[in-house]
Symmetry: C2
Subunit: 561 residues, 2 copies
């Protein structure tokens, strides 16, 4: 059986565009003599549809699109994902379903059993799990069709009480097929291959795994669809961070009529999250994820141009470079916004960076605007000394200038805050925290440096070395350094990683060798600044625990505050 | 049996403060000869704890507090809510539990079965449901103890497949006791009483229902704890929007040794959401909820002072008034920030309002700052005409001025956007959309007017009549009116209510009599502006569907856009 894997990039809610992509792939697979074509989870509407599915109109449009696919699914079988209505009175209104379309009929429908409801996932909010299971008969074979997370429990997953493949094995399937929408993070790639190998090894069946590609706001799907034979050899691996279509041909011994791409013994085993932050880990994949995140945000929002506040610091240098790589340098406007506290090297480094990248830049000094504010506020401030209000004001003047430019030229402001700053609240709301999309908000400062080194090593060193070498500073008062307000970044980031990614409490972090006052100070900063992060733009997610929809903390909460 | 109901206001994560409140109530109930005292759901840690519970350290602190309560629960029984660890290997790590403490022992523990996972609720994200049920024996009686939502399914709730009270009836209970954390919205009060009556009527048992009071950021809990006899008569109803403690004494015929407060036939039946927006509905309760929301946000964040940008329009007038009522007028600074486009009456009306309220105010004209921005941007804008960029810039100058004042004086900026503006994106990010807390962001414009009328009628007409009478305007260009950019508010709000609260699609709304182009335009505005709402501050929730955590929409989504 010749099975096509269609790894595509959908746009949530854009039924016309998604359907058109799907029909094109079906057509191409038919012409190439395919027996079956497999698409990814909820491909008809895009994943994650979030609360859009609460509109019955939205669900209806999905089912209409399924009907359009059904009409072309004549000689070829099509496995395609779509929300469907729960026919039972009890339980949530919807199911996360996969339809088998063939001979212009709906030959079978299966529903997702294990509904991820943690981190960024909210599936139980909308969907009822499956309570019944069966294989789908197709051209003399029995297909064990599951949806994404369904393969993640092999009977030992702490979150779940049901193992869908155990249920399906009762019906003697010939092959496992999984429709997935599995997002990237810098450890998830390895994990995914390990899980497939464990399924193959437990059930003795080959597996065809189709993932989606492309970004939906904050969440990046990295593709990398796979076919694995019943011995755990990879016979097909589709590209990462790109759309692709390819096929495999099954034999009757649980294998494929294709050479091995990667031997079973070379497939990574499941690995836990590293016990401490490894800044260089998967940095090339992080680069690719961020490029995808920027490109798809702009493409799906209908924008082509970006603006970046370029300070001469490492964060804006990395963001500006990524933006130029993702959108083309001609589409990225840099604004240099020096104040009286900016050092000469800041402006020079920022100029040099844009000259290296070849993107347009302009310089606007903010001091006359700052003076106008000071004068206007004088009757209210009545001679109170320079302080945080004035520091923030400079940052907000910059925010207003870049937003005005964004409004004037129809561009999106890319935010340059990093995860260490967001964690500790070291940023100004409506100032440097402004922007439509956060590019590096899921990278700790030490990871930003690692990414800068990777970029310079790989792409001809666009970032001036001085930007990597100098001490980080917000330059909002004379001779300011980040280290005046924050611990040194290597120490800070190590503690943050334990608190945020590993969910260690103060006792565990102190037991790992960090001083109690430092730990208390950092955890307090994190928890006190939830109100700032709550107003922050979407962050391209590259870690297993990003700020945003995947981390939901009380704002008035008092824990460790 | 003398049962005390402790309706208290907790602070999420503040174990010390919560425990101290609980111990005080236990002590008072002991002195008053109580047999049993009932607290609300998850009272030990506060509800909703959200992802705090992912920290084992947080769970441990809760269990330590339970242990402290156990030590004082000698002659009196104490029913108290706390997260507990799931002893089973399968399923989520935690349970949402109620502990019966008596004779200084844990006499029993029950777990919540029905875990709300919709709107603002995320319980299945963290908790495993109960799969086993039993009554708790106490002083010769059998208590059917349930937690909040558990009473919401009487076998006909579309979300659930299990009915916990049906299971508990197998053990012959004498009384139902429910520990609740049930938030206010302008229909939920009626609904709650109706649900209790339906339980009483189905099971023939009296019920003691303990709710929490006070606000946790966006969510307001309104108290209103109730005891109902087995005939559905209310014998005790605790105050709304306030802490309170009171008791009931049971007899042996399923009743209480107390007079009826409200007869069964006068208890409201369950009512569906109104088919169209009713601006005056429960407006006095909305007022009380907003006052609670402001007061608790400030109290729990550790602030006493607010700043409000007072434009002379209806929205800021209502917010300023509410702030003065909640915090005291001396704690509320009004800033009047006129531009060249502001009309005289705007400033005059704003001055008159603050004189009526007795709060401090100051005026800062923004034109010289605006000119400084214009001049600085000139090289970049190169003579392009006045447009949205300049309109937004005025709004952002105001945002920077009020935020500078907030930073300088340690106050919180109260936001004045209403739900109609937030829905349609009629506001400026970092400008009038700035603020730490949105006071009226869950009220459509027509509800804001209704609230203004209620305030003027009830509290001596602090809001100048001209503010209620004049046409709404943002005053960002000459002679601007909201109706230049938006449909008239009564029409707009009617459509928004159907789309947002009722989740009607375009077909249904058009079928209700609204013109297709109007509906398409409004729905497109709502969906296009998700990126703005995503960066907005917490909104005090008073409706069954507020923007914020209860409405999770894709940002790059294309549905109806």
């Amino acid at each position: 059986m010749k099975i096509f894997i269609a790894q595509q990039n959908y746009h949530v809610g854009n039924f016309e565009a998604n359907l058109s992509r799907i029909l094109d792939a079906v057509d191409a697979a038919k012409k190439a003599g395919g027996d079956l074509i497999v698409f990814s989870e909820l491909c008809i509407c895009g994943y994650p549809p979030r609360d859009f599915v609460e509109f019955d109109d939205f669900v209806e449009r999905g089912l209409e699109a399924i009907d359009a696919v059904r009409r072309v699914a004549n000689t070829i079988g099509v496995l395609v994902g779509c929300p469907s209505r729960n026919p039972k009175k009890e339980g949530k209104r919807l199911l996360n379903s996969a339809f088998l379309l063939h001979e212009c009929e709906i030959k079978g429908v299966v529903h997702k059993t294990l509904l991820p409801t943690y981190d960024i996932f909210d599936e139980y909010r909308q969907f009822e799990p499956a309570y019944e299971w069966n294989v789908l008969a197709f051209k003399g074979k029995k297909l064990a069709v599951t949806i994404c997370e369904d393969l993640w429990n092999l009977g030992d997953h702490p979150l779940y009480r049901i193992c869908p493949m155990d249920e399906l094995m009762k019906y003697g399937p010939d092959i496992m097929i999984n429709l997935s929408a599995s997002p990237f993070d810098y450890i998830h790639g390895d994990e995914r291959k390990g899980i497939l190998k464990r399924n193959v090894s437990k059930y003795g069946l080959p597996v065809v795994y189709c993932n989606t590609a492309g970004a939906q706001t904050d969440v990046v799907f990295d593709g990398g669809s796979i076919a694995m034979d019943c011995r755990g050899n990879v016979v097909k691996e589709l590209p990462y961070f790109a759309e692709a279509m390819d096929y495999v041909e099954t034999d009757d011994q649980g294998g494929f009529l294709q050479p091995t791409v990667c031997r079973a013994e070379d497939v990574a085993d499941l690995r836990p999250l590293p016990a401490s932050l490894e800044p260089e880990r998967n940095i090339a994949a992080i680069y690719a994820a961020l490029i995808t995140g920027i490109r798809d945000y702009f493409g799906k929002m209908g924008f082509t141009k970006a603006v970046v506040a370029s300070s001469g610091g490492i964060d804006s240098a990395v963001v500006l470079t990524l933006a130029c790589h993702a959108l083309g340098p001609a589409n990225v406007q840099a604004l240099l916004l020096p104040s009286q506290f900016s050092s000469d090297h800041s402006v020079n480094d920022a100029v040099k960076l844009s000259e290296n990248l070849g993107n347009p830049y302009a310089t606007i000094a903010i001091s006359t605007i700052f003076d106008a504010f000071e004068k206007a506020l004088e009757p209210v401030f009545t001679g109170l000394p320079f302080g945080v209000a004035e520091e923030n004001l400079q940052s907000r003047i910059r925010g207003a200038l870049v937003m005005a430019t964004s409004n004037k030229f129809g561009s999106i402001l890319l935010n340059t805050s990093n995860k260490s700053e967001l964690a500790t609240g070291y940023g100004t709301l409506y100032g440097d925290m402004a922007g439509g999309l956060s590019v590096i908000g899921d990278l700790y400062k030490v990871q930003v440096y690692a990414l800068a080194r990777y970029i310079n090593h790989t792409f001809g060193a666009p970032i001036p070395q001085n930007i990597l070498d100098k001490a980080p500073s917000a330059e909002l008062r004379p001779n300011q350094k980040d280290s005046d307000s924050l611990p040194e970044y290597d120490e800070l980031d190590a503690v943050l990683y334990r608190y945020i990614e590993l969910r260690q409490g103060p006792k565990d972090i102190i037991a790992a060798g960090f001083p109690q006052p430092l730990v208390a100070r950092i955890l307090r900063l994190v928890n006190m600044n939830e109100y700032k992060r709550n107003q922050f733009c979407p962050i391209i997610r590259v870690s297993p625990k990003a700020f945003g929809a995947g981390r939901r903390m009380p704002i008035v909460g008092k824990y460790l505050g």
